[in-house]
Symmetry: C2
Subunit: 174 residues, 2 copies
Amino acid sequence: MTFWQFVWDKTFSQYNSKQKKDEFIIVDHLHYKNKTIEIFLSHSKNINLYELEKLCDTVGWVRRPLKKVKTAIENSLLTISLFYKNDHTHKLIAFARATSDNSFNATIWDVVVHPQFQKKGLGRLLIDEIIKYLRTNDINTVTLFADPQVINFYKRLGFITDPEGIKGMFWYPN
Amino acid sequence: MTFWQFVWDKTFSQYNSKQKKDEFIIVDHLHYKNKTIEIFLSHSKNINLYELEKLCDTVGWVRRPLKKVKTAIENSLLTISLFYKNDHTHKLIAFARATSDNSFNATIWDVVVHPQFQKKGLGRLLIDEIIKYLRTNDINTVTLFADPQVINFYKRLGFITDPEGIKGMFWYPN
């Protein structure tokens, strides 16, 4: 077991039973700018929307009305935010959320990792955590809609495209 | 404008502003067993789960725990049930539901039409109604996961597969 797996398994077994709503827990350590930093996870929906918007800017997403983002977060079953601590404050560096019927199916949306923290396992950490949360709540079908450049990333995490010919379909206004 | 379109447009413009929670409204007339019957629509989540299970049996779905079906309905943004009146009671003949973040995206699940009422426009009626409801609530991306045999049906309603290479992906427990 690697150190990372150790921290991961240990932290989540604690998290699942004990985490309070606004708590930050350490889930990983990364090498960043010549030092080792701690990565914190929070499930709180009390999210700084300006900070989230800035994070989405770093990956080039189209800006969205903050009021709609707030509503989307409130109506998601689950949000995951990752932070690192800098000058005694937590800086948001990754985010994801999932909608669900809280029973059979969930759909993951808005997966974003700051470019300076990509390729360090944080995307996997977000998704693994969402799946762990959903399975704990007996929700077994996890779905998402993947842009072409991240399809292989999700395949490595165990997601499959078009199982038995099932197709993701979209309707947009004309 | 056909009679059907007239009833449809008229009823929904009324529905959007006026329908009460448990109200049945007439949305269509069909020819069935040598007579013309009225089709009623309801958005009520107060659904007879045994009746819904019987409807799902008619299309060969695997049975699901009623408690989980109840939770899924409660946590859906929207359910649509279609009925016809027989011997002074409403008989459930079609159903669909959608989960949503109530802001950007919605996903349609559990679209079912009784085999004796298929190919009569009720599937389109369900989906058009869901889209109309979502657009009224400023939710513009409507998604679903379509089995191979219904992909063309959804294409005729304006849904597209894999837009710009975006893929629906699934994760199931091993």
